[in-house]
């Protein structure tokens, strides 16, 4: 490809790409960014106060009780693990089979993955009755507990995702370092460290390609493991609604739906806020729209298996659970998540004119809401239908009603994840400069001048 361009053309093309992609990092976003940060910080302060209350008074500040002892926090944890899985889907699965259109969205997917994987590890602490004893998990950790497996794989996944974010950044940061010599000292220092002395020799390119390839292969089993193990927190128990053999793949397929929706939201945001219409163009949206249809169809298949098979049998115990979801007190949330989070997106996105940024943004938003609610109705209703009747306890123990502090803490953790994404997208280019240039036919020499 590079042979087709002469030196000058190559240079001007590269300059355009580099300028476009670096501009968002240096541009003063002014009020909009300040309002955005202010909003996130407000959410975080509310979180801080709520968590202080929880530390002081115990988990009793939440709506949890002995018959719904996992609630919003655990649902949120599952949601975060799910959202982080998209990094593996895009970088590893699509990357390894050589799909080209992922170049402009690969880094966005990794940013989403890193933010949510890091937060998944953190949110679980907010659910602990004794967070001060966190170290006990390392001191007395027992291998037969799925919690220990979860901790191991979430940590591994976070590290590999971070590496998959940082490695392809190396050539970019070398470029940025050269093009922005007057940047603030700390930024130059950061770029200097993270570009690892990259000057663009063939050997350096080769080693980056090799490392990314190895990690892309490694992350596939690790990513499958984090969500499968997360599903086992439920599937390893004997409760109606959790006692299922397909929970692993069911969770993984749902994770891809949530993750792709997050990537669409981020794409839309960067396209407008960072003025990247030429890179995150309609065709990329069209492709990602089709990807969302594909993963949603797989998810629908698992939903049919998970709900219709028990509904056909109506086994004692399962019957009550299924009926409260289909027609009982959980029906509203259940059908919202099924229709807006799964069925409707499939139907709408089959039409080409719906696979446009504006529509897709709205659909992705619905999918994410549906995805969060879905985790909530996987976690909560099952506990409210135990094997033995709930008796001799306050009436309130028959239901679960999240409290203000609990909601504030949950929103706070979502705010934190978005804040991490905002910061990463501000200090690093959200689209790979060197890979975009390579695809545009620019040779390595021009890139590393």
């Amino acid at each position: 490809m590079s042979g087709m361009l002469n030196k000058e053309e190559s240079k001007s093309r590269f300059d355009k790409i580099a300028d476009d992609l670096i501009r968002p990092m240096t541009k003063n976003d002014g009020l909009s960014l300040q309002i955005w940060i202010f909003l996130l910080v407000t959410v975080l302060s509310l979180f801080g106060y709520a968590y202080f209350l929880q530390l002081r008074d115990g988990l009793g500040v939440t709506g949890l009780h002995d018959y719904a002892s996992w609630g919003m926090y655990i649902s949120n944890f599952v949601f975060f693990v799910a959202s982080s899985l998209v990094g593996m889907l895009i970088t590893a699965v699509l990357g390894l089979i050589g799909i080209k259109w992922i170049t402009p969205i690969a880094r966005i997917a990794e940013i989403v993955a890193v933010a949510f994987a890091m937060m998944a590890g953190l949110v679980i602490v907010f659910d602990m009755g004794r967070p001060d004893r966190l170290l006990n998990v390392f001191i007395y950790g027992r291998l037969q507990s799925p919690i220990v497996w979860d901790l191991t794989v979430v940590t591994s996944y976070t590290i590999i995702s971070l590496l998959l974010l940082i490695l392809p950044l190396i050539p970019d940061l070398a470029i940025i370092k050269r093009r922005l010599p007057n940047a603030p000292k700390w930024q130059l220092l950061l770029w200097n460290i993270l570009s690892f002395g990259f000057v663009g020799t063939p050997a350096q390119y080769k080693s980056i390609h090799k490392m990314v390839r190895v990690l892309s292969i490694l992350i596939v089993p690790v990513a499958l493991a984090i969500h499968t193990v997360t599903s086992w927190l439920f599937a390893s128990t004997l409760r109606h609604g959790w006692d299922s053999t397909i929970f692993g793949p069911y969770f993984v397929s749902g994770a891809f739906v949530a993750g792709v929706a997050w990537v669409i939201l981020a794409m839309y945001f960067f396209r407008h806020q960072y003025n990247l219409k030429a890179y995150l163009h309609d065709e990329v949206f069209d492709k990602v729209g089709k990807l969302l249809v594909l993963v949603s169809l797989v998810y629908l298949y698992f939903n049919i298996n998970e709900f219709l098979v028990p509904a056909y049998k109506m086994k004692a115990g399962d019957d009550h659970h299924i009926l409260t979801l289909f027609t009982g007190s959980w029906a509203g949330l259940f059908w919202f998540s099924q229709i807006f989070g799964n069925i409707l997106p499939i139907i709408l996105l089959l039409f080409k004119r719906m696979r446009k940024p504006g529509y897709m943004f709205t659909i992705a938003l619905l999918v994410i809401m549906g995805a969060w609610i879905k985790r909530y109705i996987i976690v909560v209703p099952t506990q409210l239908h135990p094997h033995l009747p709930i008796q001799n306890v306050p009436e309130a123990f028959h239901v679960y009603t999240p409290t203000g502090p609990e909601i504030a803490i949950t929103l706070g953790t979502i705010g934190m994840a978005i804040l991490i994404m905002t910061i990463l997208a501000k200090i690093f280019p959200v689209i790979s400069i060197w890979e975009t240039a390579e695809e545009a036919g620019v040779d390595h020499e021009t890139i590393n001048q």
Partner: protein, 318 residues
């Protein structure tokens, strides 16, 4: 297990011989020898004494002082250690005769008092059961089943809940991180959590933590039925068993094949009792292998409360 005990015993004897008595008393909790000095006693009358863990030591008769509460002398480490080990050679079992239960709830009351529980926290809970729309309702006390295939201890990430050699499933609230995975895992809803400040914390009750009683209760940790492990240590029946006025409970050792009724004090063969009365376990299809057996609620001695019956019928309609 036995090795540890023998070693502990041997080291005590060494201590006695070398006269390090204060140390010995602190380690073993046996303080009947507190003024013992080997030099003066060479000519005095000596008596052989059996220590609590089965060793014979010689003691000067004149210096012997009776001890009331040995267990209070034990520190946290010793309580934890013996609590985790359990009582050797025992396999505790409970039989609940549903025909005798009339929902007096004395078991619940004595249990809550013993374990310093709040009104909504039950280690044992008397449930009103009705298996089908047309079957007769009955009262069913439900403690922890102390399963042999325990769903709860399997999932604990820190070994804070564990099954010991005598079959009792205990909880160590000095180690529990409050993840509540065991609550999710228990199909019998036998576990409770201290969501807020506990009664012990409110009353600043500061005794060393007794793992066999799970007292003092701690905020942010689990509590559950312990088969009154502290009472078994003293050769007494569990709190609930002795509190029952109606003879509902039998409790004993499966290895001895003997269970004792908490109300009448009568002791019978466990195997005969469950065979003759067609005993069953709760939710056997889950494979948890409970150590609590139920005798069917047939030929009931007390009528089911009509008010309760009405409530049950309503709950069936839901």
């Amino acid at each position: 297990m036995c090795d540890t005990k023998e070693n502990a015993g041997a080291s005590r004897l060494d201590f006695l011989k070398s006269g390090l008595l204060a140390g010995a008393a602190a380690v073993t909790g046996v303080n009947l020898l507190s003024s013992f000095t080997p030099i003066e006693t060479s000519s005095e009358q000596k008596v052989k004494v059996l220590t609590p863990d089965g060793h014979i030591v010689e003691v000067e008769e004149a210096k012997m002082v009776p001890v009331r509460e040995i267990k209070q002398e034990l520190g946290l480490t010793e309580l934890q250690q013996r609590g985790r080990e359990g009582i050797a050679g025992k396999h505790w079992v409970m039989v609940i005769d549903l025909a005798k239960c009339r929902n007096a709830r004395k078991c619940m009351e004595s249990c809550q008092n013993a374990h310093h529980l709040k009104p909504e926290q039950h280690h044992i809970n008397v449930l009103q059961m009705q298996d089908g729309e047309h079957t007769a309702p009955y009262y069913m006390p439900k403690p922890c089943m102390h399963c042999d295939n325990t769903p709860c201890t399997k999932v604990c990430p820190v070994d804070a809940t564990f099954k010991r050699q005598d079959g009792i499933v205990l909880i160590d609230n000095e180690r529990c991180i409050g993840c509540r995975f065991c609550v999710a895992a228990c199909p019998y809803s036998a576990r409770v959590f201290n969501w807020t400040e506990t009664l012990d914390e409110k009353n600043s009750y500061n005794a060393p933590y007794n793992i066999e009683l799970n007292v003092p209760q701690k905020k942010g940790t689990i509590s559950k039925c312990l088969f009154s492990a502290d009472r078994l240590r003293e050769n007494k029946l569990p709190y609930c068993v002795s509190a029952c006025p109606n003879g509902t409970y039998w409790f004993g050792d499966m290895n001895e094949d003997a269970v004792t009724n908490g109300t009448t004090g009568e002791t019978v063969r466990f195997s005969e009792l469950i065979e003759k009365n067609d005993a069953y376990t709760l939710l056997p299809e889950l494979g948890t292998k409970p150590n609590v057996y139920y005798l069917p609620a047939k030929d009931r001695q007390f009528p089911f409360d009509p008010e309760d019956k009405k409530k049950l019928n309503e709950s069936h309609k839901h």
